[in-house]
Subunit: 132 residues, 2 copies
Amino acid sequence: MNKLNKKVEYALMALKHFSEGDDTTVSAKDIAEATHSPAEVTARVLQTLSSHGILKAEYGLHGGYRLAKDLSKVSVYELMNIVDGSTDLAKCLSDKECDLLKNCTIVTPVENLNKKVQDFYKSISIEEVFNV
Amino acid sequence: MNKLNKKVEYALMALKHFSEGDDTTVSAKDIAEATHSPAEVTARVLQTLSSHGILKAEYGLHGGYRLAKDLSKVSVYELMNIVDGSTDLAKCLSDKECDLLKNCTIVTPVENLNKKVQDFYKSISIEEVFNV
DNA sequence: CAATAGGCGACTAAATTAGTCGTATATATT
DNA sequence: AATATATACGACTAATTTAGTCGCCTATTG
Ligand code: SF4
Ligand code: SF4
């Protein structure tokens, strides 16, 4: 429970790479090599980050990605949502699919805790995570 | 990612039940019925809570459990650790088993974020979660 | 000593997460 | 225009984690 998944970790690795390099485009393959992560998965993560405006993709012979957004302006919450789809603390908060939902005694407490957690993640920027 | 697991949810349900009732002992079976959760799993969760001093178990004919600790003194962090074993944000922080560890570029950032998250969870009491 | 209730280990099933493969599309260079 | 390089996407398989079950043992009350 509570573990970051690999996609989020690969995203962090990639963003760290970009934030540390100069502003040249870097291909998905290069990122995968630099971060020792599986090329296909990394490529997919970069595409997602690009489609959400965190990175900018460039096609062609010397194409690749570059940072499109100041990482001090991107929250951990935003990154998790982009890469993983949801940051909700329980199933019922997004899908409404939990079997217990109609009898559940803790929906309100969970909603309450969920809000706290998400506000917390919104308050932390990626830059802040990198610069200890 | 980031979802509470069922054991933690069952624990919350049980604790809510105890915190709302009077101070009589309640059997695992009764808790399971009241919370619509699987009896065996619930029993196990209650045993764990008991062995960590959150509940007090009583054997015998009219045995069961009762609250042993003020829920305003029990943090979400503590509960998660007791019921789930760990609240660490990444494998390497507890097991040191991640394949990427020797090449990982984000160990420090992840440690950094992990500390923030755990401090946050330490700052919230169960009582606070229940009383919105 | 029977009935009731907690305690524990090992197992199976279900769901989620991680990783792979194949193919299509876009564009800078030649 | 051809080609090499790189992004984009869908569908699939494998691995891991989570959830739930079963059977048997131990303690205490009445
Ligand atoms: S809070 Fe209740 S309804 Fe929502 S997912 Fe958890 S158990 Fe299901
Ligand atoms: S932070 Fe790096 S080493 Fe730690 S678990 Fe994530 S990938 Fe593995």
